[in-house]
Symmetry: C2
Subunit: 660 residues, 2 copies
């Protein structure tokens, strides 16, 4: 076992924040075309270079007049003026308004010389001419008096040349784009987007889309893409570097290249001590390590430092793009939820700051703890939590999600993190907490369901607006419903837990034994599994499939006047449980087992053989106090006509509860 660096003297989270703040990630400002400026941040003040409007402008359709010619005019005694001509928008006036005259004018047109007000067309009449006379009118009756400037927008009245239009730091949304357009600006000085290089280390990582060899322990690289998306969201420009693999010279070369090309370099995914050693060495040789280890869970192995530039071939080769000085460096933990949590908490604010962006208002949500939570490790905890907004006027419910840091599914089963201070030992049920969302765009679910996994259920969930479903099995689902967090539970087969709940409907599914295509071992029923030397694969005890299997074994044991335990002892693989409804079938297909517990539907879909052991009801039940929620009603409505939910699913039928 190689030597491992120990993390002693952990820094406080505040010190980590200060260390990152002390690094300079700021890119140079740049100029972008107006049509690409949305979402960017103004780097400097923009003053109006022109008057808007650029001329005295009619703001109504009507007649341009000298106001004094209308003084005293009213409905009873209109002023009559000679019609001297017309002015239209987008054309230079070809007419001058002399005393006693007027000119037809359209909204937006230039006020003709001599005129100082507009009378709206509704307060005028044509005299002479017109369709009947077969000619244009030559005089206009003005039935109202106007003052100089009436219905005229004078040049610069909207914004005048020299006036401050937009200040530095302004985020450019459609309306600012509009004002810049009005000023004729088509190139905008904006804050640069910090370039953030992402170097991932670890021999086992494979880029999504490439072939994976699980027998070599390969997994897809989650952190690079997740963090790249986070960088982009914070206003940075992510640059993914190719995998360094376990070639440490290559890793060093990559780190230096990334430092030369970027404002900030992030590495993550290194579970290998030797990779960490390389990073140390590079930083120690050409850079500075500011911080090593932070008293925060997760994220203890975080590194903060900087890397001198000029170390890469690109730079020494005279690449014009190469920068000087130093690049900031942060090493993130390897597990995806930890990496995203540390990125969101410590790195994203620095990227946003460098890009000139404010923290989005939606990035933090207030909530109340749905359950109590004990903690006492003496360091700050960034606790992953899920949110459920009951829309009952109270704060959303917050519940801890703890699947172990290695689970990528925590990414979508949690919505963000709650910071638990080191001296907090217990969070009470109902206590108010702030949740830092994983992204300002995270939309917490409107419905939380738990329980059995099932293919018809997957379709049902597709019909709902933003549900979250945790496939924890029927038994665990009932336990969670009883504990009060979820809205609904899905139960397959018989249950022994009594939890008060309201039946919303369901269906029936054919379950039994999945065998290879053609049933080569000629399995005919449970006897074969018990009596013959077949490799079996099971579901966990929380699963309804397992419960039905055990009930069937109980019946067989009773027939044979023995116990279930006696029977199962002889089943090779009875204790080998796999995660989801298709998993046993897939083990059978892979040749790792001869028989698995499963569904007729799965066997058909995956082209396996199937031996039915019976039908099992799947029911959806709601927590009584949640039955009136819109989201639960929507669930009930989606269940009301389950026909096409079940269409084409082998062995599925409406259960008796739903039949008329």
């Amino acid at each position: 076992m190689s030597d491992r660096k120990e993390f002693r003297d952990l820094a406080t989270p505040e010190a980590a924040r200060e260390a990152i703040d002390s690094l300079d990630l700021s890119p140079e400002p740049e100029t972008v075309p107006l049509e690409e400026a949305r979402g960017r941040v103004l780097a400097e003040r923009v003053d109006a270079a022109v008057d808007v409007p650029g001329f005295d402008r009619a703001s109504m359709d009507g007649y341009a007049v000298r106001a004094e010619d209308t003084f005293g005019a009213d409905e009873a005694d209109p002023a009559e003026l000679d019609l001297a001509g017309a002015v239209h928008a987008g054309a230079a006036p070809q007419v001058t308004v002399a005393p006693g005259a007027c000119a037809e004018i359209s909204t937006g047109a230039v006020m003709p010389e001599g005129a100082d007000a507009v009378v709206m067309v509704e307060r005028t009449d044509e005299i002479g001419g017109g369709p009947d006379a077969g000619s244009d009118p030559d005089r206009i009756a003005i039935r109202t008096a106007v003052a100089p400037g009436d219905h005229v927008m004078s040049a610069g009245a909207d914004i005048a040349a020299g006036a401050r239009a937009l200040g530095p730091g302004t985020r450019l949304t459609p309306r600012e784009i509009g004002l810049l357009s009005a000023l004729g600006v088509d190139e905008v000085p904006v804050e640069g987007r910090p370039r953030v290089g992402i170097v991932s280390t670890g021999d086992e990582l494979v880029r999504p889309g490439e072939a994976l060899d699980p027998s070599r322990g390969e997994i897809y690289d989650v952190n690079s893409t997740t963090i790249a998306a986070g960088v982009e969201e914070a206003g940075g420009e992510p640059v993914l570097y190719p995998h360094a693999g376990d070639d440490y010279e290559e890793m060093e070369r990559l780190l230096r290249r990334a430092a030369d090309e970027c404002d900030l370099v992030l590495s993550s995914g290194s579970t290998s001590a030797s990779a960490v050693d390389v990073i140390y060495r590079v930083i120690e040789e050409r850079g500075e390590l500011l911080l090593h280890g932070v008293a925060v869970k997760p994220g203890k192995p975080m590194l903060v430092g900087c890397l001198d530039r000029g170390g890469s071939e690109a730079a020494s080769g005279g690449d014009a793009d190469a920068r000087t000085g130093e690049s900031a460096y942060v090493g993130l933990p390897g597990y995806p939820v930890s990496a995203l949590t540390i990125f969101r908490t410590f790195v994203a604010p620095a990227v946003r700051e460098a890009a000139g962006r404010a923290e989005p208002a939606t990035a933090t949500v207030e909530g109340r703890m749905a359950v109590g939570e004990r903690y006492g490790e003496g360091r700050t905890r960034l606790m992953p939590v899920g949110l459920l907004d009951l829309n009952d006027g109270d704060l959303p419910l917050v519940y801890p999600v703890d699947k172990g840091s290695g689970a990528t599914t925590s990414l979508v089963e949690a919505d963000g993190v709650v910071t638990v201070e080191p001296d907090t030992e217990y969070l009470d049920e109902g206590e108010r907490v702030s949740v830092q969302l994983f992204s300002p765009d995270v939309r917490p679910p409107s419905l939380l369901g738990v329980g059995e996994d099932d293919p018809a259920l997957n379709r049902l969930l597709d019909r709902l607006e933003n549900p979250r479903y945790l496939p924890v099995g029927s038994r665990e689902g009932l336990r969670r419903l009883r504990d009060g967090v979820p809205d609904a539970v899905v139960i397959a087969g018989p249950t022994d837990r009594e939890v008060e709940s309201i039946d919303l409907g369901g269906w029936t599914r054919d379950w039994g034994l999945v065998v290879p295509a053609g049933n080569p071992a000629d399995v005919t029923g449970l006897d074969a599994v018990v009596d013959r030397d077949l490799r079996f694969v099971n579901r966990p005890t929380d699963s309804g499939l397992r419960r039905s299997l055990d009930d069937a074994l109980d019946r067989l044991a009773a027939e044979r006047s023995t116990s279930r335990a006696e029977l199962t002892e002889g089943i090779a693989g009875y204790d080998l449980t796999v995660r989801a409804f298709e998993s046993p079938a897939r083990r059978v297909i892979a040749g790792d087992a001869d028989v698995g517990v499963g569904l007729r539907e799965t066997a058909k879909r995956l082209d396996c053989g199937f031996v039915s052991l019976g039908e099992q009801s799947v029911v959806v039940r709601a927590a009584p106090e949640r039955a009136d929620r819109d989201a639960v009603r929507e669930l009930a409505a989606a269940l009301d006509d389950p026909a096409d939910l079940l269409e084409g699913l082998a062995g599925y039928s409406r259960n008796s509860r739903n039949d008329p």
Copy 2:
């Protein structure tokens, strides 16, 4: 005057919404690479195609063991196992763990055959070997018992093949990108972005960046870029079509081309009746008009309909991209604030819906009316309002912004609109209202200032975080401060209004007469303006510059034993007032005036001549009840050392208040 279509039988806003909802803007779903998927919306469910992890995986560094070999082991009585080899992450195990043996294993590595649990390294000791022995250890002492599965993540335990990973309609944020990566997905089925064609009509419109001829009444096209940015923000893909100008055949051709190429066509900016006639004709010939005129202010002249496809040359020419069926059509009002308001209220929700996106949580903000507002026109009003969050625990203040619909500056002086129902005649001060922001990214200001405009003030504002400043003049500024909405006022010169306020600091500026470079008319003082036949240009009565000018005229009148009115009667242009501090100078430069009131700084910057008439103080004052706000303290702090505020500004100095 041409015939104008009258808007009779206006539709209700609900009917307008229904008409737009009845149109089909939905594009086909598409597939995008994972790295471009952020912000998009899943078009269909994604099930896991592989187990994650794809193998039984060590979740700690330590030793892979057969759990039963550790039963009974503890600190006092460790189990000793033969070390059979090592397994590292990213490598296939080359070792089998037989009874009584173990294998070194790294986090993330594949569990070797035979082993079913991991003992963490901290609970083990090496026996024999090591640095001292000069060889590898051959046995390991295990100081704890483990159960099967301990520190092992079994294949599929995170998510199993066949399980539902993400549902349709899921917005892809970094965490979803992470889960998709874990599943090896590199191409993602997402909802398409509706293509929205923007056709702008109006002879007077010029694209930003092009040359403008104000004498022809040309203005920059604000709506096309504003609406394009709004479309993009709502998840659509904007397509700007070239200006049709007043060539109506061209306009018809463009509308048809846009219909062929887009899911929705928007037109705006048409203040010309004949342009509206062309749109009618095109819709009537090849399409359907659903709605014409809506009882809403602004936005009455809104049109909703659809345009048959296949009318453009591109389509008849067999363009592969041409679509069939029909395109939706909405005609927006011409004024920028009206166009953005109608877009935001009626069109953006439809674009979002077609793109599969939810309304962002930040798009609506609750507030309380800062002042009462009367309204009684019997139709829905979408009232532009500004927001000011006092951060006092109460809702943000909401105040109406009504500069007239033609003003583009309303775009940035208002933050959104409040919907006032037709039967609401009065909104009380303090009444709670919902503000629909112009964009979810709109950040209401943290400070609201009003008053005089001034170049040093512009610099001061640049130092503040997100201020809003309304240059309404000193006198109007004081009136507004008294009415209780703004935080601070900036006053230049003497004032006659008494408003309780707190002095925060200020400076002094040299003011006088701006004349052409070289002072060709040899103006030496105010006498020249009064006595000679010079064309003058003034500032409005609310301006501090005007007030100082009038005071100087009063003094001159007293010297001459006459009245100011008597003197000003002889000044050609005394009543010609222009908007901003630079505006008179710019009129002088343009040759439209011989003398203007203004600042030495402006004269110097614009290379004009200048005749000083005196010094004028500029003071910044806060509303007493706002003095403790963070934003006001920030303002006071920025004023505390005004030295470099004034650096390089001609005629500027610290005023006596600030001198020690």
